[in-house]
């Protein structure tokens, strides 16, 4: 009887002593090479320790929608989605800077810029509700093209992959890595990219609800460290990282993977200058986890 009582007491104490499980954090993201550290950390199980899961979408817009309806606590965004979500939800804060596009976002066309200048009816395929919009606006402005000459066709990148075209009608496609690869293989040529556009920097960051930043900052700091570590490992061993993350980014080949990596720059440890620059996009030091 005494033994039974002792076992029961220990059992009750153990139950009483066990700490409650931390609330799950869901990150809504999409298939962008710049988010490879997230996939890498997730696949390696680093995120599991922090009870963090990811939802991978086709486009940034869909990822943002998931966040918008409250099905995710964090979301990967460019400044476009960041502002869009700020406008529609009023509850989003940039937390961790991941990368900036360095050629990763681009404008493809079946015509040269000069030919486009002469055209009165140019079809422009893009995800309007994304950074594509800002890229196209910047492209039109930088090349003295006229918006009125463009027919805007709002498609997501998956849909854009399947469009039919003839070489006669001028077309412009605003896309980003890795969706550019198949399009370029079909004959589209890069006529502008973030590599050579100085007027715009595409910032990819991980944003979160304000409440999460307030109540769970410790986990976010841990997440930042994990992402830093993942970026290091990706840089040090791209082959291994490709094996790990390729399934999250449309089974991209290793060569395409290496090529895509070249189109981004990691800004997880940003310079002061960059921070100052991106402040114009409402990325402030107050919320960003820099170290």
């Amino acid at each position: 009887m005494k033994n039974i009582l002792s076992i029961l007491t220990i059992f009750v104490l153990l139950i009483g002593c066990s700490s409650p499980k931390e609330k799950e954090i869901i990150i809504s993201t999409n298939q962008w090479i710049g988010y490879a550290p997230l996939f890498y950390a997730y696949d390696k199980g680093y995120l599991k320790k922090l009870n963090i899961k990811i939802i991978n979408s086709v486009s940034l817009a869909e990822a943002a929608d998931i966040y918008r309806v409250g099905k995710a606590d964090m979301v990967t965004t460019t400044q476009h989605e960041y502002h869009s979500l700020m406008e529609s939800t009023g509850d989003i804060k940039p937390i961790i800077l991941l990368d900036r596009s360095n050629g990763g976002d681009m404008v493809l066309s079946n015509k040269s810029v000069e030919a486009l200048l002469k055209s009165k009816n140019i079809k422009a395929y893009l995800e309007v509700d994304s950074i594509n919009k800002e890229i196209l606006e910047d492209f039109i402005a930088n090349n003295t093209l006229k918006l009125k000459n463009f027919t805007i066709i709002n498609k997501d990148q998956q849909q854009i992959q399947g469009i039919r075209y003839t070489s006669k009608e001028p077309m412009v496609i605003v896309t980003y890595s890795p969706y550019n690869i198949s399009l370029q293989k079909r004959g589209f040529v890069e006529i502008a990219s973030t590599k050579n556009i100085d007027s715009i920097i595409v910032i990819d960051a991980l944003c979160a609800k304000e409440e999460l930043l307030k109540n769970d900052k410790h986990r976010l700091i841990q997440l930042k460290k994990i992402l830093d570590k993942s970026i290091d490992e990706i840089q040090r061993n791209p082959k291994l990282s490709h094996q790990i993350v390729s399934k999250y980014i449309s089974n991209m080949s290793y060569s395409d993977y290496l090529e895509s990596l070249k189109n981004i720059k990691w800004i997880n440890k940003p310079s002061k200058k960059l921070i100052n620059f991106i402040s114009r996009y409402d990325y402030t030091e107050e919320t960003l986890l820099i170290k």
Binding site: A61, D65, R68, V69, G70, K71, S84, E87, V128, N154
Partner: protein
């Protein structure tokens, strides 16, 4: 500590189980409610997300009718959603799934952002909202979507699940309680009740139990009761049977007779009790030893058992006392027949240790209800009848009668009176003078005891002395007589009666009493011993002659004289006269009454007495003629009514003085 029954204990445990179950139910109920809530919210979230995707890709405010049916289907398919409204940037409704409200103003305050759905209360929030963008060229235009929930459905879904859980809880709890109750009843309560009943009544042992501990108790009880029953039977045997003969004992006999009496009350049937006592059994024990006596008793028991009828009962109630109970006695002839048969069987010689031995028995018979209406009376009266049978010569049987009872009652009354007389000094000594025939002077006297009953008056010794001798009261009476006589001698010492010798009668029983000599010695301490004479009859010395002779010599040595009373009526052995140191010989009154006819014998007696130098006293002298004869025969003294009847002391003194005065005057 308050004690509770196992049923109550079980009920308490079941209540605890029910409470525990209720707590579990409540936990799961809350959990289920929360889970259902979360699932519904997630479902709404997902639906909102799909709607968002759909609208983002397909929404065109100018062509809204093209997607209206799809939005309507969206509402129809999703039971949790009851309506969807879309508002333009001017907050005017442009689409309503259930009805078109053109130009209706938006009420944004009552709707909650869809992203807060997880924190909100579904039943309190009227609608959830999110924004969609529509691009004209590259310019974004924001439209608001309101999703209205089907609260009735949500509430019903929740309640339905709650009811399911409640039913499940109730059914499982009730079933569980019934099952536990049944199990406890079957395997604990009933066995315990069975054990309790078995322990209390020690009958009808319960069947083997499943639970080991109960079975162990049941088995232990069974073993204990078996042992107790065996011991009880042994004890009953010991308590109801006579250990020597195996016959019933007194207690059993009493029970049986009491039972027969109660039965006979209803049936008016009679029964008989035969009290059987072996004749002279004491002698058997004395001469043959107790072992032999026991064998005799065992043989007698066997004979009785073989002689009586099947439904008769034989019991041994004392040393050699047996009782035979004869139920259903139709008439006295039957009793005679059985008594005769017993007598006949007992009279046949017994073979004990290869020796033939004959015993006889005396029987007294009583009949219920004639001779007694209870055990004690029936047995007592049978005993009386048995004594009567013995008195009539033994080896026979005698029926109890009323006259026999009257005699016995008389005897009992006399015994009581004697006892009372001893305690209350109803006894008195009367003195009858002994007169010197030659001088005609009173020279001595015989002290004769009288019982003076306050009611009846004087009771003569022949009425109470035999009874006193029978029951042993003669011993204290005899002591009283000696003490009283000695006191009288002492009183007379300083008077003219100082020379008067007093004779007291001593019975054989008194003489056999071991303390007699010491009592006598104590009594004579303060008197002139020569003034005391002891009268003994011839029969006193018949038994234990040598012992008594020795005692008489010792008495003589004290200086007390001895008189042989009633000479001529008994054995009248001359050799006895020679050996016993008598001083006086008293000729019995029967010789004096017919003195002429007995002259020769009287002459012979006087001659022998003179030869042996004994004084002679003639008893019962009533006439002058008798006195003249005695004088001629040279008799020394006489005693009788001629001189005086026995008188109280003061009258005797008066007589003495009168006689003396007369003599002096003459």
């Amino acid at each position: 500590m308050k004690k509770i029954s196992i049923k109550r204990f079980t009920t308490l445990i079941l209540i605890l189980i029910a409470v525990w179950n209720f707590a579990i139910f409540y936990y799961f109920y809350s959990k289920t409610k929360t889970t259902i809530d979360i699932l519904i919210k997630e479902n709404i979230q997902t639906e909102a997300l799909h709607l968002n995707h759909f609208l983002t890709k397909n929404f065109n405010p100018d062509q809204i009718d093209e997607i209206a049916s799809q939005i309507d289907n969206f509402v129809l398919i999703n039971k949790t959603i009851t309506d969807i409204h879309i508002f333009n940037e001017q907050d005017r409704i442009i689409y309503n799934a259930s009805k078109m409200y053109e130009d209706e103003p938006i009420d944004n305050h009552s709707c909650t952002s869809i992203k807060n759905i997880m924190k909100s209360d579904l039943l309190k929030i009227p609608c959830y909202t999110f924004k969609i963008k529509y691009y004209k060229k590259l310019d974004a235009h924001y439209y608001t979507v309101h999703i209205y929930l089907n609260k009735q459905y949500i509430s019903n879904t929740k309640n339905k699940e709650a009811l399911h859980i409640l039913y499940m809880f109730l059914i499982t709890t009730i079933l569980l309680i019934f099952v536990i109750f049944f199990i406890i009843q079957k395997y604990v309560t009933h066995p315990l009740e069975g054990l309790r009943r078995y322990a209390y009544y020690s009958e009808y042992p319960p069947l083997a139990f499943v639970i080991k501990e109960f079975e162990s108790i049941r088995y232990s009880l069974e073993m204990t009761f078996k042992r107790l029953k065996s011991e009880q039977e042994n004890l009953y045997q010991l308590s109801t049977r006579d250990s020597l003969t195996g016959l019933y004992n007194r207690l059993s006999l009493q029970e049986k007779i009491t039972w027969l009496i109660s039965t006979s009350h209803r049936t008016d049937e009679s029964f008989a009790v035969i009290y059987l006592d072996l004749d002279n059994f004491k002698n058997i024990n004395d001469f043959k030893g107790h072992n032999f006596g026991d064998k005799i008793l065992q043989n007698i028991a066997t004979i009785l058992l073989h002689t009586i009828r099947d439904n008769d009962m034989a019991a041994r109630i004392g040393g050699d006392e047996f009782v035979i109970l004869l139920p259903n006695v139709e008439n006295e002839e039957k009793i005679h027949e059985i008594a005769q048969r017993i007598k006949l069987k007992l009279s046949q010689p017994l073979i004990i240790d290869e020796n033939h031995y004959s015993v006889t028995a005396s029987m007294g018979i009583t009949l219920y209800p004639k001779d007694g209406d209870n055990f004690h009376t029936l047995l007592k009266n049978a005993d009386i009848a048995m004594y009567k049978s013995k008195a009539l010569g033994k080896n026979n049987y005698y029926f109890f009668t009323d006259s026999l009872n009257a005699d016995v009652q008389k005897k009992i009354n006399m015994e009581r009176l004697i006892q009372s007389a001893l305690e209350n000094s109803y006894f008195e000594l009367f003195y009858q003078p002994k007169v010197d025939i030659q001088t005609n002077k009173i020279v001595s006297c015989e002290a004769l005891i009288r019982l003076i009953d306050p009611i009846e008056g004087i009771i003569s010794p022949d009425k109470f002395i035999p009874i006193a001798e029978e029951n042993g009261l003669i011993v204290p009476i005899g002591e009283w007589v000696i003490k009283e006589a000695c006191n009288q001698i002492k009183k007379w010492e300083q008077t003219q009666l100082s020379n008067i010798k007093i004779s007291v009668n001593v019975s054989g029983i008194q003489l056999e009493e071991k303390s007699f000599f010491n009592v006598l010695k104590n009594c004579i301490k303060d008197i002139n011993i020569s003034k005391l004479d002891i009268e003994l009859t011839e029969s006193v010395l018949i038994s234990d002659f040598n012992i008594k002779l020795e005692l008489l010599h010792k008495i003589k040595e004290l200086g007390i004289t001895l008189s042989l009373d009633d000479f001529g009526t008994g054995y009248s052995s001359i050799s006895y006269l020679k050996r016993i140191p008598y001083d006086t010989l008293k000729i019995d009154k029967s010789f004096i009454d017919n003195i002429k006819e007995n002259e020769l014998f009287l002459n012979m007696i006087i001659t022998i007495a003179n030869t042996l130098e004994l004084d002679i006293v003639a008893e019962g002298v009533e006439t002058q003629e008798q006195l003249a004869y005695l004088k001629d025969l040279n008799c020394d003294m006489y005693q009788g009514y001629l001189c005086s009847k026995p008188l109280p002391a003061y009258q005797f003194e008066k007589l003495f003085y009168d006689c003396k005065s007369n003599q002096n005057n003459s």
